[in-house]
Each structure stands twice: as structure tokens, then as C-alpha cells.
């Protein structure tokens, strides 16, 4: 084992005579403006940040090692806890990769349900991000308004899956169970009421003098930098990158819904533009939900039992021998799925950007390697670049606009 990795970095330059007036501020890991567990080591010249060095890993809890220990369906519960403000979108991305590996195509009904719930998750993610930026920059009311709407999304998730926070609703080749009419009614009600809440949020923030002054022109990222630094999602789109996997590589029900939404882009690349892109995406997500919820196809939610991929429902398990056998096959530790000895990358556009999974399979029902492509890690790596020359009061604005989720950052 290489022990040189254990040597702490010794700094030689810090005693340089011309830089004696600089001082170092330790920001985090437990700090109100970081919301989660990040640590920044800021070198300050008065109020100006000369250098920002992020230190992460304060929430590294071994997700990917667990992914090698649990099977595909069990790992959903862990994937949920990655980006924990839009858990359902993570599940969809995980099964995008797993189902690509197994070569299974979900049923149309399942695709639509996943799309609707994932878009709801996107809305709740953006709501929290926008609300938290407001909270940090002194607009507490926006946070309360945003959380009120998030509770409605929680209600929908709870009616659909039984868990309000981490639904763990997806399974290989389908969903845990079909939804009831109650969920559709709640989604319809949400579609009706959300535009008003969205307008309220817009009115609270868009022309809020303090909010605008503290975000406009702060943390500018140009288009070329965004591509070179692997940014994706709202962060890249606020800089003029038009890449959106929902349009570029349509998955789930998006091929049918292409006409119902646009890709929201901006050119400025600063915190205010990132905020605007998030607000715009919420409106577009609502359009997708509106179009999808009226067109949910009928039919089964899981793929056919003959494919030997999905967990049979209780009725099939207790009443038919095929169902019973398949239930055993999928739950015995040495049987489970038969996978090709291959590897595959599948990605989806979640609220934070491209969330991809690189799954290596060795023929057993578990992943040999379940690598996550975490948008938060990549977005946080551009933070020192964005911070150059800004003041210390801009730290919360930039951090908030990047929407760093520590569990996804550290895994």
C-alpha cells in the first residue's frame, strides 16, 4: 500500500514575506451556508478571496462499495440517498443503466409513470435549490414558499410508493406497484396549483434588489469553460451549453413528449442566470407533467413475467407455480439475474445534471462495479475557479447556485 499518500501537504510558500498579510479562514465542514458537509479553506486578502481550496469527503460513506455487495433491486435504496432532494430521479438513472445491461425495455405505462415522477422530483430539487439560495442571501420567505410546494410533491410520492422521502419505487423492469387514481388526481391538482406558487416565487426573487445584486455577475462561467470542465445540467445550460439528455438521447417517455418542452438556456453564466434556468426548468417540467399525465397508457406496469426479470406480485406468487418459482429465483442469494459479462454506461438528465452509472457485471445478480458519475462532484470542482477574485460574501451565492448535495458529492 502506498504510504506516501498519507503524507500531509506541506506548504512552503505561506511564509513568503509579501504575502504575510493574507490570512486563512476555515469555512465548514459544519456551517450554515454550506447546508451540507463541505469544507473550504479560504485564503483571504481582507474580504477578497485569493484562493479557495475545497476539502470534501465528510460524507463519504462507501455507496459504491455497497453497490458491489447488494443486488440491483436492493441498491435502489442506496441510490435514493445519493441526491436526496430528488431521489426518484436517481432511481430512474440507476435502472437506465441496469436495464440497458439486462437488455430489457420497460412497458409504456412504466415509462410514463417514471417520467412523471422524475419530473416532479426535478421540480422539488429546483425548489429546494432556489429556496436555499434565497435563504442564504436573506430572502427567507421564498424558502418557506418553496418548501410548501415540496410538501405537495412529498404527498404525491407518498401516495404512490408509501414513503414520502425516499420512495425506493423502481424495480428492474418496472415499478414496485402500479399507482392508484388517487395519485393521478393529486398530480392533476399539483399541475393546477403550482403555476401560482411559481409566480409567487418569481415575484419574490426576480426583482428582489438584494437578491439580484448579490447574484448578478457573480461566479461567471463561460461556455468553453463549462464544456472543458465537464459541467452539465443547469450549470452548463446557464452558460449557453445546449446539451440536455432529454433532447439529445431521449429515454423513457421523452421521445413522445419532445414537443411539450424546450431546453432552457441562458448566456450569462453567473449565479443569477443559473437561478433563472432553474426557474425556467420548473415551468418546462410542469409542461411535461401536464402532457404526460393525460396520456398515461394502460396495460401492465411491469414487463412480462416470462422474461424472468421482475418480482412477481403477491397474487402471482401465491396463486401460480411460475410466480412462486420466479420469486424464489430472484430472492435466493446465489440465483438472481443472469447478466452478461459486460459493462455498460447509462445516464439520465437529473435536476443537477447528467447522472450516469457505469455498471460492470460478472454474470451474477450483483454489480461488479457500480460507478456513479456524480454531477455534484464535477460542479464543486469548478468552485475554486468561480470564486477567483470574489468577496467572502459571495461564497453562499455561488455554493447555492451550484446546488452541491454532499451525499452525491462524496457518496
Amino acid at each position: 500500500m502506498p504510504l506516501e499518500a498519507a503524507t500531509p501537504v506541506v506548504d512552503e510558500d505561506i511564509a513568503g514575506a509579501d504575502r504575510e498579510y493574507l490570512y486563512t479562514l476555515n469555512y465548514g465542514p459544519q456551517h450554515p451556508a454550506t447546508h451540507t458537509t463541505l469544507r473550504l479553506i479560504l485564503t483571504l486578502d481582507g474580504e477578497t478571496v485569493v484562493k479557495a481550496v475545497p476539502d470534501i469527503g465528510f460524507l463519504h460513506s462507501g455507496f459504491e462499495k455497497l453497490g458491489e455487495d447488494l443486488d440491483f433491486n436492493q441498491y435502489v435504496t442506496i441510490v435514493d440517498r445519493m441526491n436526496y432532494i430528488s431521489p426518484f430521479a436517481n432511481e430512474c438513472a440507476w435502472f437506465e443503466a441496469v436495464e440497458k445491461l439486462l437488455g430489457v425495455e420497460p412497458t409504456p405505462r412504466c415509462k410514463y409513470l417514471r417520467t412523471i415522477l422524475a419530473e416532479l422530483a426535478r421540480i422539488s430539487d429546483h425548489l429546494l435549490c432556489v429556496g436555499a439560495v434565497g435563504l442564504d442571501l436573506g430572502a427567507l420567505t421564498a424558502f418557506l414558499y418553496a418548501f410548501n410546494q415540496r410538501e405537495k410533491v412529498y404527498d404525491i410520492m407518498e401516495s404512490a410508493s408509501g414513503q414520502r422521502f425516499h420512495p425506493s419505487f423502481c424495480r428492474v423492469g418496472g415499478l414496485m406497484n402500479d399507482i392508484t387514481d388517487d395519485v393521478v388526481a393529486k398530480v392533476r391538482a399539483f399541475v393546477k396549483t403550482f403555476p401560482k406558487a411559481h409566480a409567487d416565487l418569481t415575484r419574490l426573487l426576480n426583482r428582489n434588489r438584494i437578491f439580484v445584486d448579490r447574484t448578478k455577475g457573480i461566479g461567471v462561467l463561460t461556455r468553453d469553460e463549462a464544456i472543458n470542465m465537464s459541467c452539465s445540467g443547469p450549470v452548463a445550460r446557464a452558460s449557453g451549453v445546449t446539451r440536455d439528455l432529454r433532447k439529445d438521447e431521449p429515454y423513457l417517455a421523452y421521445p413522445d413528449l419532445q414537443d411539450s418542452f424546450k431546453v432552457v438556456c441562458a448566456k450569462g453564466g453567473d449565479c443569477y442566470n443559473r437561478y433563472l434556468v432553474r426557474m425556467g426548468e420548473m415551468a418546462e417540467s410542469l409542461n411535461i407533467i401536464k402532457a404526460a399525465v393525460e396520456n398515461i397508457p394502460g396495460g401492465p406496469v411491469n414487463v412480462d413475467l416470462e422474461d424472468k426479470l421482475t418480482i412477481p406480485d403477491k397474487q402471482a406468487t401465491y396463486r401460480s407455480i411460475e410466480g412462486l418459482i420466479q420469486h424464489f429465483e430472484l430472492f435466493m442469494w446465489n440465483r438472481r439475474w443472469e447478466t452478461p459479462v459486460e459493462e455498460v454506461y447509462g445516464a439520465q438528465e437529473t435536476a443537477n445534471g447528467e447522472l450516469g452509472f457505469y455498471v460492470v457485471a460478472d454474470g451474477s445478480g450483483r454489480a461488479w462495479r457500480a460507478r456513479t458519475r456524480p454531477p455534484s462532484l464535477i460542479h464543486f470542482s469548478i468552485f475554486p475557479h468561480l470564486m477567483e477574485g470574489h468577496q467572502i460574501s459571495d461564497v453562499p451565492a455561488i455554493l447555492g447556485s451550484l446546488n452541491i448535495i454532499a451525499a452525491e458529492l462524496d457518496r
Binding site: 503524507t7 462507501g62 459479462v341 460507478r371 462532484l377
Partner: protein, 168 residues
């Protein structure tokens, strides 16, 4: 065969192999050739073939994997922002001193992802500007995602003293 593979074959004959599964196309670079050929190959893909976006970079440990000959692999997932094409470049490395050239000069976004691979697998990246541990504590000596490291660790997680009520 896509046009970029023709370009690569013309410039780097015999330096790589290709494979394909579902919609993933892969270019495989062997452990012996990776040191000299990996960076020119990626530079060619970036500058001449339009793969301007490094979508992902991750490591894999193939210890006791069925049919594997090399131990570590690093997968570079490239994408073309103009036409949304994807390509995966896979470079191998072996014990006792797994090392690959760093691609930070090509994509700055690779910096933290390479640090993560170094932290979790111990694959070193030659030419990386700041190759330190990123997720694990700096005093930590193992590389936890290697297959010979147990899921529950060797007990490092209990290696702290307790604060009692009277002391606090």
C-alpha cells in the same frame, strides 16, 4: 464503422482494440501502450473528432473478474456536444505500480475525478497537478474500492476515542 475510428486507425495503427455492447462503443488501450499512447489518442479524439466533453472518468478493479487479464482499468467517457455521440476509452494498468498519464491538460474537469480514482483505487496519474486523497482522510493508508479490501474495512471506523458526559 464511424469516421473517428478511421482517423484513429490511421494515426495509431495497432495501438488499440475496439469493442461494442448495446449502444456503448469502446476503444481499449492495453496496459503496455497506455503510457505513451493514451494522451495523444485522447487529444486526437478531442481536437480532430469532436469529442470535446469528458462526461465521466472512473476506475474499475478486475481482480478475479472472469476472463480479465489486467487488474485496473480507467474508463474515460467522452461525448460530443454537437451531435451527442458517445465513446468510451478504456485504459488498463497493473500492479505493483499502477500508473496512467493524466488528462488534466486536456480537460480540467478530470482533475477531481482522477483524484477520486487515485484515492479509491491507488492508480497514480503522472502529471496530475495535485494528486492527493480526496474522499478518505489523509492519514488513511488503504484504497477502499479495491476488491481485496473488505466492505466493512479493517476497523478504522471504530478508531476514535469517546467523549463522556462528565468530560463534555
Amino acid at each position: 464503422m464511424p469516421a473517428y475510428l478511421d482517423t484513429l486507425t490511421a494515426k495509431f495503427p495497432g495501438a488499440f482494440a475496439t469493442s461494442e455492447f448495446r449502444d456503448n462503443r469502446r476503444v481499449l488501450v492495453s496496459a503496455e501502450r497506455a503510457g505513451e499512447v493514451l494522451v495523444p489518442l485522447l487529444r486526437c479524439l478531442k481536437d480532430e473528432c469532436g469529442f470535446d466533453y469528458l462526461a465521466e472518468l472512473g476506475g474499475v478493479d478486475y481482480l478475479n473478474y472472469p476472463g480479465a487479464t489486467d487488474r485496473y482499468a480507467v474508463v474515460y467517457g467522452l461525448a460530443n456536444t454537437a451531435n451527442a455521440e458517445r465513446l468510451f476509452v478504456k485504459a488498463f494498468a497493473n500492479d505493483p505500480d499502477p500508473e496512467l498519464p493524466s488528462v488534466v491538460d486536456l480537460w480540467r474537469g478530470a482533475e477531481w475525478m482522477e483524484r477520486e480514482v487515485f484515492d479509491l483505487y491507488g492508480v497514480r496519474f503522472a502529471g496530475h497537478p495535485d494528486l492527493r486523497r480526496i474522499l478518505m482522510p489523509h492519514e488513511f493508508a488503504a484504497h477502499p474500492l479495491r476488491k481485496d479490501y473488505p466492505l466493512r474495512g479493517y476497523g478504522e471506523r471504530h478508531n476514535f476515542r469517546s467523549v463522556t458526559r462528565a468530560e463534555s
